[in-house]
Symmetry: C2
Subunit: 446 residues, 2 copies
């Protein structure tokens, strides 16, 4: 499947029209989230690495032109003007892992209008999805309060490709492992996982299953103990581990029932069997709310495995993100209609201590004591720096998270910081709005 044709048809009809009208002047589009979903005190910027890969490779070749023509039911010749187009623009963006808030650009693309337009849909698809999932996973990290988390989401993500991203995004915010083999090897994330209920059921007894597993996998093992009866399963696991002289690095996994109560009883049983080093892993429908509740009640769980609800960002599976034209040919533009009005002009985010953000214009002087969030990551269609690493992104995430106010960090009913608008951006917005309103009233809208 071509990444170039993985786009909305209207990007193509518009690009073609721009070319025909000779509208190739530079355009700046801004990608931002209008409002945070309920239950989010912050968003974690994500999608940029995949976005830059996409832009680097973007090229409308012969087969893409044919596909466009087929979709438009037009002769191939009509689409020829698009052929050979690649992306040679500039990109300014917030690096992955940084926290962002409503109305703050994650990315600004400046390129000849047809190019900047054509890349809209694919970029949105990457940023919406990845930022939604990273933000959900980040809340699990807060809820776990220092205990390790691992990603088990692959079976429930929106297809295997989304699963690969979910594993990466979980690692980006500090998860210590993933069950996903392909993601583990691609991104250098520790792979985790041992056995399913089917494994236990395939053997004549739970004990036979545990012993067989230990034979195949010398070294630390984790036994799944809830296939038939959890307390008996724990006792059987303890007996087998003790018998084999195993302990440190080993674990048992609870996957159903009242995880807090079961973990307490399992801890007692393991301790009484002299297996103080054997850890307890809990899984089964967990998200930040479940994890926070278990942590609050002091459940002796050493590692939380989260899957489904995190991998699909179940309570906020999409973001209200937009990719809006903010300047064309040096002229700031904006949309006025209803609740979706946008602010004109290329922007910058100025971040002060305690995550006090001001959204201003890209060419403003940063207010004293602030840092700028967007940096130039692509120029002339080429990356300005080597690909980012998960380690660097995680470090940025952790630094921003540490500075985030408590009310935005809390799991229940968080309140996100509201960025303010700089004076210059406020003035420009007013001026452009009046200009458009005056000309619309006159029946002529520039």
């Amino acid at each position: 499947m071509s990444q170039v044709t993985t786009t909305d048809l209207y990007e193509v009809t518009m690009a073609l029209s721009y070319l025909r009208e000779d509208m190739r002047a530079p355009a700046t589009f801004s990608l931002f989230v209008r409002d945070l979903p309920p239950g989010r005190g912050f968003l974690v910027a994500a999608g940029l690495e995949a976005g830059l890969d996409y832009l680097s490779r973007f090229r409308v070749g012969r087969s893409e032109v044919q596909e466009f023509a087929e979709a438009m039911r037009r002769p191939v010749e009509d689409l020829e003007p698009l052929r050979g187009m690649s992306f040679d623009g500039q990109v300014r963006a917030v690096p992955e892992g940084r926290l962002v808030f409503a109305g703050e650009p994650l990315l600004e693309v400046t390129a000849p209008l047809p190019q900047a337009q054509l890349v809209e849909t694919y970029l949105l698809s990457l940023f919406c999805h990845q930022t939604a999932v990273a933000s959900k996973a980040a809340r699990c990290v807060l809820a776990a309060a220092g205990r390790p988390l691992v990603d088990f989401s692959l079976r429930r993500t929106h297809g295997p490709e989304a699963g690969l991203q979910a594993a990466r995004l979980c690692a980006l915010v500090g998860f210590t492992g993933t069950s996903n083999v392909a993601a583990a090897t691609r991104y250098g994330i520790p792979a985790v996982g041992t056995m399913a209920h089917s494994y236990i059921e395939a053997f004549a007894s739970e004990e036979d299953a545990f012993r067989a597993f230990a034979r195949t996998h010398p070294g630390p093992v984790t036994f799944l103990v809830d296939t038939y009866d959890t307390e008996r399963g724990v006792a059987t696991a303890a007996r087998v581990l003790a018998d084999l002289g195993l302990g440190r690095g080993c674990g048992i996994r609870l996957d159903s029932g009242d995880l807090g109560a079961l973990a307490r009883r399992a801890r007692t049983a393991l301790d009484e069997a002299g297996l103080r080093d054997v850890q307890i892993v809990a899984s089964g429908g967990l998200d930040e709310y479940g994890v926070a509740s278990l942590v609050r009640e002091g459940a002796p769980i050493d590692t939380f495995a989260v899957g489904t609800k995190v991998g699909v960002a179940a309570d906020a599976p999409f973001l209200d993100a937009a990719y809006k034209l903010v300047e064309y040919d040096g002229r700031p533009v904006m949309k006025l209609s209803s609740a979706k009005a946008t602010a004109p002009g290329p922007k910058q985010v100025f971040r002060g201590p305690g995550i006090r953000d001001v959204v201003g214009l890209a060419n403003e002087e940063p207010p004293e004591g602030t840092e700028t969030l967007l940096r130039t990551v692509m120029r002339g269609g080429l990356r300005t720096e080597p690909p980012d690493t998960l380690t660097a992104a995680r470090a940025r995430f952790e630094a921003d998270l540490a500075a985030l106010p408590d009310e935005a960090r809390r799991i229940d009913d968080p309140v996100a910081p509201a960025p303010t608008m700089s004076t210059r951006l406020t003035v420009l917005t007013t001026v452009v709005r009046h200009r458009i309103e005056a000309r619309t009233a006159a029946g002529q809208e520039t």
Copy 2:
């Protein structure tokens, strides 16, 4: 990325252990949804075509073995037993497009245990996602009550690959078009789409934009009218269309505000301009609830474009699906723990008139007047029939939908039919449960 390594690590550790223990007897796994999410009166079976593609190609080669070894931090030699494994089992499944309910297998895989286990995660990822999205889209079709629907979801799906699937699944339940070019050409779905707000903004005036668009795209056009002021936008669109002698096949698109009220005013304005043939397309955050409400109030909207909420199945973005071992080496097995108990044995679904379903055993005689839902679609690792078509799947969907009771069809608080269990399956479940409980109590679980 290898499809084979896009799996949970535990599938690999288990498969390896099965091989070492010489447990290669046939195993049957059943893939089913435990419970329907709130707001669902039915599910639309989907994922099978992609699943059969995956199984047909499944082969553990040298590079997969290396990846497994890397993930497990084990020498490559330890993983060699897996090398060369492909899928040569049998698959029975419910064809795509049919309606399914809680506890009904969508798919049953019978193969040597290591193979049947290794394919679990990838199959779940396909079926969970695709069935969730198809079911959401199907509800939009019900809500639209015969008016056409088109898919605009690509920018918000969980990555571009999920967007491709969303377009296909929307078409499967009867959408008439998609904005997604790659999906349109791959699946033969009509591509739709014209212009974004950015297009209007890039021109000196809305009228200039409309005229330029019509120059580039001779023939029917759809003008987006809500960039600045919707009523003025409609008037401008009407003037340009009338001027150019356009009408039939043309449209205007409303993308924000009170769509019902705006559509009524737009219809009046268009009619007064003699443009009775110009259609009204509505988009902007619509799902089945929004569409149903517009239809109920009699809004003169000709086509609904739905995106975000359908593409991610926003209110139910995952299904509680499982892939459970139900028989190994001729022995029916089941899981007992807590709320997740499963029924043993290979199964069949018998459907009577009015979608009265009985879940029974695969080798039962069908009750009189019922049809069987699962059919053999793969034998010896090969498809038993040519790939399915969207047209055929849509016909199955429409036939089942027509037979579905009203309470399951309604948009608000639907009630799904509850399949019953056949006597033979009930008896087997009781027998297996007692056998396991007796042996668990005796500390030995066969």
